[in-house]
Symmetry: C2
Subunit: 371 residues, 2 copies
């Protein structure tokens, strides 16, 4: 344990399905539960493991839904039971984060929490840890800290942070405005200017600062969370949660709190460059995992299930095999091949984003068993 371990409450949001990772990611077994990390660890487990220099296990919280509470609990064996916060229904990120903040505040009113998606990959853990430590400094001083990723391309799938000058002489910068997903031309101008960072949806703040800003901007949501928090350690927890939770607005934390906080100068960022990947689709997954000399990435192959994959004159594939079955590919390139116990997908890497449309088609035709 380093000196810093224990300084942070780590909150992991284990929600979302990831339909662009179909047929691997399903409503019943979403992407964060899958070992898409190049090791045996699931994305969720890797997310928690990545915090080990920053938060001791009893300071790790996870917020998840009723459908995945059991799987999440079993994957995260070191997280105390009482730190698995189960939402009665999906209310988007603001309610989930606010619940965690309120529960932490009961234990440690000025505690510093970091909020992390459970389905991102980070290549350079040490750099990530350093960036979070810097963010903790900013949080201590009362800022709502957001992690900004130095953009490497004019990506139109992400939101951006428009940065102002630095605060003090450290790397912390003011965030002047949150920008929605831009057009390609706008994204290009952002990247050229050097003043914009990708909004990776990772936040660090004092729980009291966040809850105060929530109360200012979202009084209804704050009041509901406050009622739930008061009942948290009582016999009435389930009763109150069941009554209040469904009334909370469905809203993202960016939109509900961060955009408005930036306008009044309360948001700062630490630029990060630690190999962040949101594992949005199989193509980007293939870009971040190790490839063989032919550029083929085999995701989550367990050597005990060999052969698993048989490739011959194949290049630049992303292959997801499934235990007990063989994927054979001959003379193909730049394809995604995802095999699962009940479905197989074949699609070019460049069209990875459109996989979502297949899920929509299945939904439309009532084939709910496959989604």
């Amino acid at each position: 344990m380093t000196d810093d371990q224990g300084a942070l409450y780590g909150v992991v949001l284990a929600g979302g399905t990831g339909t662009r990772l179909w047929p691997l990611s399903r409503a019943g077994h979403p992407k964060f539960l899958h070992p898409l990390t190049g090791t045996d660890a699931s994305l969720l487990q890797a997310t928690v493991g990545r915090l080990d220099q920053l938060a001791s296990p009893e300071r790790i919280f996870v917020v998840t839904g009723v459908a995945h509470a059991a799987a999440v609990s079993r994957q995260l064996t070191t997280v105390p039971e009482e730190n698995v916060l189960v939402e009665p229904s999906p209310r988007d990120s603001c309610a989930a984060i606010a619940l965690a903040a309120a529960v932490i505040a009961r234990r440690d009113p000025e505690g510093i929490m970091g909020s992390f998606a459970s389905d991102h990959l980070i290549g350079e853990k040490n750099q990530f840890t350093e960036v979070i430590r810097t963010a903790i400094e900013g949080a201590r001083q009362g800022q709502l800290m957001t992690l900004g990723i130095t953009p490497t391309r004019p990506e139109t799938g992400y939101g951006y942070l428009q940065c102002g000058g630095t605060r003090g002489d450290g790397p912390i910068m003011r965030v002047e405005e949150f920008k929605e997903k831009p057009s390609y031309d706008v994204a290009e101008s952002y990247v050229k200017s050097g003043n914009y960072l990708w909004n990776a949806g990772m936040f660090v703040w004092r729980v009291d600062v966040f809850l105060a800003e929530l109360a200012r901007q979202q009084p209804q949501l704050a009041a509901g969370i406050s009622r739930i928090a008061q009942a948290w350690d009582s016999a009435a927890r389930e009763e109150v949660l069941g009554e209040v939770w469904p009334t909370l607005p469905r809203i993202s934390v960016d939109y509900a709190v961060m955009e408005g906080a930036a306008v009044v100068g309360r948001v700062s960022t630490v630029p990060g460059d630690f190999g962040w990947n949101d594992v949005g689709d199989f193509h980007t997954l293939g870009e971040v995992l190790a490839a063989d000399p032919q550029g083929n990435v085999i995701v989550g192959q367990d050597p005990e299930t060999k052969p698993g994959v048989l490739l011959r004159e194949a290049e630049n594939l992303v292959v997801v095999p499934t235990p007990g079955r063989l994927v054979a590919a001959l003379g193909v390139r730049d394809l995604i091949i995802v095999d699962t116990p009940d479905a197989v997908l074949v699609c070019p890497r460049e069209r990875a984003q459109e996989v979502k449309s297949l899920v929509d088609a299945l939904k439309d035709s009532g084939e709910l068993g496959y989604i």
Copy 2:
């Protein structure tokens, strides 16, 4: 029943694996057992069904190996039990055909038999029936008749028949020589000359004529078959078969009998043009089955197992789904996608012939469960 039904003994050879149709075709479940016909019928069933204007059910014989005797018997419910001839071990086509000829000769010494592979598709059944009727005429006159397919391309994967003039005023032509699989240039010259036909490996002859020619060219094989035939209707059948069969030479009927018979003027042919396809690989299978407006061929899809296949902006695919699983393809073309309960194959149509190399690779690596 037409006047001609009953004129022919139909012999179907249910052997061979079809490794170019892997992973659908396996050693344990070879291609002739699969419904690759565009209907529910297997290739084997379609082969027998195609003879219904030529041979009554009690005149249909099938020669198969010990591994597939049960499956063959169950698929061919109309074939009498005693007409399922089970070889103790594979001895190539000459022994299989000779056994059938000898068994038929015991019942009908001058009977006319037609010998057919169990894994070919024929598009125009009526034309096929007419060609066989013509071949029966030639067989009655003592010729060893072979069916010749009018070539449509300079195919290097088939043997050819070099034809001489016609016999009489019908379509029957003399076969001067059997030609092995040629190089591309040679195949091209064959097709241009108009004197060459594809050797489809379908024969029609009087059993006495064939057995006499066998005795002349292959005395050892003929003697062995004769011993087996004499014991056929006795209690000693299994004993004699088990003793003699393993001593028979492994040799194809083309090489053992037909080539030598052609040299002495005993082979004739009827040119046929009835949509013959040897279903050698998934690409040629795709060429012969009905395609959707985008050129996609879905092989053997049972409507009850829907969705089975979900295609989106896909063209010119050959897709083999498997019951209870979904094959989804987005934005791909000219691919073969074959799904089975334990393996999936992805390969371009133009490389369909090379699928065999995957089976070799599995064999080399000891993965015998997949082959």
